[in-house]
């Protein structure tokens, strides 16, 4: 069975995480490292996919700046989205040639990992046909946007654990005028580390790889989510 390293990056700004992904993608393409799953929490940032529509950004640069939100165009699929504290962001760097050469199956796989993770916390989440992502009663709880180069994946998913949902007012998430939700909004209080730990297990099962077992990387006191 393939190995997949889990890297828990804690709080890291978007640009640094993007840079790290680029480096790991190159190393993965050369076969220098095994598959990776990066788990990270970003400070407030709005990112726009390559095929996204700037008009889905509802706020001016000034308003974003005043709210302390960065804006970052990027090269993943999908439209516009928001990342911020309380959101578990996952960036799998997988060589799909060693799993399935099928980008649709990969996206469905990510959805399955998220659905199974939420189920472990007692949340019944599912898919909506043609609307990639994971949904709970018509509200989006996790977004997906992927980039693939030579069958090696980057970017990935963002799961709202205790995200301050008011920040989504600045955008039309993924170009869809559908509401968003979070685990906290559904009454589930959980820390990012705990959710990441559960998620890594489901990730290994769905993508047929061996995840390192052990305690979550952050053993210290749980961070208080800042607003």
């Amino acid at each position: 069975m393939r190995n997949c390293s889990v890297r828990e990056l804690g709080r890291m700004d978007y640009a640094s995480a993007l840079e790290l992904q680029r480096r790991l993608v190159a190393e993965r393409q050369q076969g220098a490292i095994p598959d990776q799953l990066l788990l990270v929490e970003h400070p407030h940032v709005v990112t726009l996919g390559r095929n996204g529509h700037r008009e889905n950004l509802l706020a001016s640069d000034e308003i974003l700046a005043r709210a302390g939100v960065d804006f970052h165009p990027t090269d993943r699929g999908g439209d516009i989205t928001y990342h911020g504290p309380g959101q578990l962001v996952g960036y799998p760097i997988l060589d799909l040639r060693e799993w399935k050469r099928d980008v649709a199956a990969y996206v469905r796989g990510l959805e399955q990992v998220l659905i199974d993770t939420l189920a472990a916390f007692g949340i019944a989440a599912g898919r909506i046909p043609k609307l990639t992502g994971v949904w709970v009663e018509g509200r989006k709880i996790a977004a997906i946007g992927v980039h693939i180069a030579r069958w090696v994946t980057s970017h990935g998913f963002a799961l709202n654990v205790s995200t301050d949902l008011s920040y989504f007012q600045y955008i039309v998430p993924c170009g869809l005028t559908k509401p968003v939700t979070s685990m906290a909004a559904l009454g589930i209080r959980a820390g990012l580390e705990d959710v990441g730990y559960v998620l890594a297990g489901h990730f290994g099962r769905v993508f047929d790889c061996q995840m390192p077992v052990g305690a979550p990387a952050h053993s210290g006191a749980r961070k208080r989510e800042t607003l």
Partner: protein, 439 residues
């Protein structure tokens, strides 16, 4: 020449959107160097070049969605090409035994296909189909348009029928004899042709071209819709229309136009004159600058005029604050600035709040008269029609004057017709007897 095709990115994926060319026609590209990007459902993928050479021809432009295996470009291996070209047919003989009954040899794409595995061969075609491989896109177009493909001459590689061939045929068809004689959509092309091998894929939609297209409302559109209906439900709308002679204003404008352009870099329009006239009238009739809150009238001491600005897919009403403290120059400057920033989405949130009265200038789009909807919680809105030179009777003589129709929609819960028309008479009087300096 090597054909570059839309690769198959997964079993159930039958098409992809070409989002970006990373090379331009005429540019050199190395084998395995990223050549273009495609997008399929939230996944962007860089596609490497299948060969080294010059990108000689690009058949699919950015933004177009095409079926898998559609040729999107050709690469000319010229100098170094000999070896590669020789290798191609050899490689082509080798691929796993294809169950395809197709007589014509597939073009070099088999050798050229990038990373993804060679797609399953096309399904056996209905009898009427011509020789040569058909892309799923062409099959789909043929099915949807009820075309007998044997009537089309292919111009693609190896005589294959391309999308352009089908489009050309369709364009020519109405003049020529329509293909099938049967009246009701016949079962003519049996078209089983499942697009590639898609086991679990739902059957394709029926052949009829779509009669509708569904698109979700933008957030702005939803907000506008909500606001408009709310306003209609809230206020008792009545509209009164007055004809105003703008000749004095036109003269003043003519006189200052060049100076405005030279000194301030923007032109002088009719709108700031009308804003100014409205401000003067609002000061005299403050009930039109009020709001209704339950059983209370709220009189606003500031005169903040909202100016409706049309955006590409919507409308926004930025506010000129303390409009009563500005002359025509100041008002024109505000109008130009707010409109420009509205269109580039640079307005600050408080710049669309706090309006006490609104003006909408539909005349700039040629409208003579309109009946605008009140911008809640205000109680009146002034609509400005187009200014036209018109023959009018003055002292029993016919004169040519610049005429404009102004319409005032007001909330009859608070304002009666007599007051509304007194207000409009004041506006008219200011404009017709314009004396104020503009700068």
């Amino acid at each position: 020449m090597t054909d570059v095709v839309m690769p198959q990115m997964g079993e159930s994926i039958v098409e992809g959107t070409l989002t970006k060319w990373l090379k331009k026609p005429g540019e050199h590209v190395e084998r395995d160097e990223p050549l273009f990007e495609i997008s399929t459902d939230k996944v962007d993928t860089e596609i490497p070049s299948p060969a080294a050479g010059t990108l000689s021809e690009v058949m699919v432009e950015e933004g177009k969605t095409v079926g898998i295996n559609t040729v999107v470009a050709r690469i000319d291996e010229n100098g170094a090409g000999a070896a590669a070209a020789a290798a191609a047919p050899a490689a082509q003989a080798a691929p796993p035994p294809a169950p395809a009954p197709e007589p014509a040899a597939p073009p070099v794409q088999a050798a050229a296909a990038p990373a993804p595995p060679p797609p399953p061969a096309e399904e056996s075609a209905p009898a009427a189909e011509p020789a040569g491989p058909l892309s799923p896109l062409v099959r789909k177009m043929a099915r949807e348009n009820n075309i007998d493909l044997s009537r089309i001459k292919g111009t693609g590689a190896g005589g294959r029928i391309t999308k352009q061939d089908v489009e050309g045929y369709l364009a020519a068809r109405p003049a020529a004899a329509p293909a099938p004689a049967a009246p009701v959509r016949p079962a003519a092309p049996p078209a089983p042709a499942p697009v590639a091998a898609a086991p679990a894929t739902a059957p394709l939609p029926p052949a009829a071209p779509a009669r509708t297209r569904i698109e979700p409302l933008s957030t702005m559109r939803m907000k506008i819709a909500e606001h408009m209906v709310l306003s209609r439900r809230t206020s008792a709308h009545v509209t009164t229309i007055h004809r105003v002679d703008m000749t004095a204003v036109a003269k003043m404008r003519e006189h200052n136009k060049a100076a405005f352009q030279a000194n301030y870099g923007f032109s002088l329009t009719y709108l700031p004159f009308i804003v100014r006239a409205a401000v003067v009238a609002l000061r005299q009739f403050p009930l039109l600058n009020a709001s209704l809150d339950g059983n209370n009238i709220i009189y606003h001491n500031e005169i903040n005029i909202g100016i409706a600005v049309a955006l590409e897919n919507g409308l926004i009403v930025p506010v000129i604050r303390a409009a009563d403290e500005k002359n025509v120059l100041g008002l024109q400057r505000s109008v130009v600035d707010l409109a420009a920033r509205a269109r580039s989405r640079q307005l600050k949130p408080d710049e669309v709040l706090g309006g006490t009265f609104s003006i909408t200038n539909f005349g700039s789009y040629g409208s003579l008269v309109g009946t605008p909807i009140i911008n809640q919680p205000q109680v009146a809105i002034l609509g400005v029609g187009t200014v036209d030179k018109t023959p009018v009777v003055i002292h029993d003589a016919i004169a040519i004057r610049s005429i404009c129709h102004l319409s005032l929609s007001f909330d009859h819960r608070l304002i009666d017709g007599a007051l509304a028309d007194q207000f409009m008479t004041k506006v008219k009087q200011v404009l017709e007897g314009w004396t104020e300096e503009v700068q």
